[in-house]
């Protein structure tokens, strides 16, 4: 069976890039990834670009072709992948499948979002497109409101507290201090989160990930070939994806994310691993409750115990299972279309032992969990260091 590995990574600094455009950001990440991979542009056979809402953010569609154009990769097939905030994770999976199928040996995967070219109100409208316009947004449900409904249901069912939600934010801000590419380099306390203003109760400003510009890219290669050309290839040992109803009311429960659970189960079964085998995870903490839902769906802790698990430090950098050592979406930033690819970049950096101050000790197997909307799309990827060129 063919296997797929990452042979090169690139990522811009995440933040507010007033002086850089969409195309400059993706070119920066893409060129870094290609050079880092030790391949030539002509070796790349296809490109998948994850992007959620360039039409609304910068008035530009057709960004698959734009990315290939900017990277000088014409005439290879270039495809935009859109699944809301999971666009990056699904783009990664698309590239993975393209190599797995035998169609290509070397594929580029990018993820990009340029969000600060519009004001916050316009950005909120663009992001709202990830929910159900007719049955959610129409009634005045903002995205924080949708996650707030899940948070309240989780608190009611399992006794999760607002302080436990805050602990996610505090940890991820702390981790972001150690990541030079993170948007925020500012430690916060539980008290800071608790006194920040409510956006949609029980979620407060410091429970929410920011609006961010950024791009990330990886070069994928068939593993046997990767071992010949790369010193430290990172194998994608499994890829899982699942879907759920677009709108929250259609779901069986509000206090769990079914698509993430199914995607994780599929990935673990394919890799013949369990959550206990994972050394670190990058999960989709667009809101603090989302990280708690994620670690429960993946199976790092019992269902309903994500709050205390986090509060006890078990997901800290030196904890039982470090979660979001990059700073996560909360601390590192969340350029929606780039996030899923940036998670893969972090997994590679960790598995190659190049994460410096935020390095997870003895990291052998990493996991990335990327979610679209309020959970209607989820991807879970597992990564492992492969034997490289001597």
């Amino acid at each position: 069976m063919r296997s797929v590995s990452i042979i090169g990574t690139g990522c811009t600094v995440f933040g507010e890039h007033w002086n850089k455009s969409f195309r400059q950001l993706i070119a920066e990440a893409g060129i870094e990834a290609i050079q880092n991979a030790g391949v030539e542009g002509k070796d790349i056979e296809a490109l998948y670009g994850g992007n959620m809402a360039s039409g609304r953010f910068i008035g530009q569609e057709h960004v698959g072709a734009l990315i290939a154009d900017q990277l000088g990769l014409n005439p290879i097939p270039a495809t935009r992948v859109e699944d809301a905030c999971a666009s990056g994770g699904v783009a990664l999976r698309s590239g993975y499948m393209a190599i797995k199928s035998g169609e290509y040996d070397v594929v580029a995967v990018g993820g990009i979002e340029k969000m600060t070219d519009v004001g916050t109100d316009q950005a909120a409208i663009a992001l709202g497109g990830a929910g159900d316009q007719e049955t959610e947004l129409f009634h005045g449900a903002s995205f924080p409101a949708l996650y707030a409904l899940m948070a309240r249901a989780h608190m009611n069912k399992f006794g999760t507290t607002e302080e436990q939600l805050a602990a996610v934010s505090v940890k991820n801000h702390k981790n972001a201090m150690l990541n030079p590419k993170a948007q925020f380099h500012r430690e916060i306390t539980v008290a800071d989160v608790m006194k920040s203003s409510y956006i949609a109760s029980p979620l407060k400003l410091l429970d929410c990930s920011p609006i961010t510009d950024g791009a990330a890219a990886v070069i994928l290669c068939e593993t046997e070939k990767a071992k010949e050309i790369c010193e430290q290839p990172i194998e994608i040992i499994a890829s899982g994806q699942a879907s759920d109803t677009l709108a929250l009311p259609g779901r069986k429960n509000l206090y769990e994310t079914m698509a993430a659970r199914v995607a994780a189960k599929a990935a673990f079964e394919k890799a013949k691993l369990t959550p206990k085998d994972i050394d670190f995870a990058e999960v989709h903490d667009c809101f603090t409750i989302a990280e708690i839902l994620a670690i429960e769906a993946i199976g790092f802790c019992e269902k309903g115990k994500g709050g205390p698990f986090t509060e006890q430090g078990k997901t800290a950098l030196d904890g039982e299972i470090p979660v979001n050592v990059s700073g996560g979406l909360k601390g590192k930033g969340h350029p929606v279309g780039a996030t899923g690819v940036a998670q893969a970049v972090e997994a590679c950096i960790q598995l190659q032992g190049k994460a410096e101050k935020r390095q997870v000790k003895d990291a052998k197997i990493g996991l990335a969990h990327n979610v679209g909307g309020s959970g209607a799309t989820a991807t879970v990827h597992l990564f492992k260091a492969a034997e490289g060129r001597k």
Partner: protein
């Protein structure tokens, strides 16, 4: 998005009178109406059905920063309501004292203006719910 006239008149029947449907094969009610029963698929038998006008709050949030078109409404309550036939919908909770908006509270349907984003455009009407006891 909400302000576009064709979007308002095209398929809003359900918003005025909670028009959904019901699968006679498995006995599940759907709101809004579904084109196919996800459990029974081709064996399902979907018939139009009006939803009950009462239910209970499953979860809620008080929105302090509203999206475009709702900025002047804040703070307001958004809830997931489970109707008496188990179908669920997302709605605003209005005309209710703050302390009565809680999980499990019984609610009933009312008819209200939802939003008027575009001052020149149409006004969108539809259901909201209020706490009834």
């Amino acid at each position: 998005m909400n302000g576009a006239l064709p979007l308002i008149w095209r398929k809003f029947g359900e918003r005025y009178d909670l028009d959904g449907n019901f699968c006679e094969t498995c006995g599940t009610a759907f709101f809004p109406a579904r084109p196919v029963c996800p459990s029974c698929r081709r064996r399902g038998k979907l018939v139009p059905k009006k939803m009950p006008k009462t239910g209970k709050i499953v979860s809620f949030t008080e929105v302090f920063t509203g999206p475009a078109g709702f900025e002047h409404e804040t703070p307001y309550f958004i809830a997931i309501v489970e109707l008496d036939n188990k179908a669920r919908l997302l709605t605003q909770i209005v005309d209710s004292e703050k302390e009565r908006v809680k999980i499990g509270a019984k609610v009933g349907k009312v008819f209200r203006k939802i939003s008027d984003i575009d001052p020149e455009g149409p006004i969108a009407y539809g259901y909201k719910f209020k706490v009834v006891c």
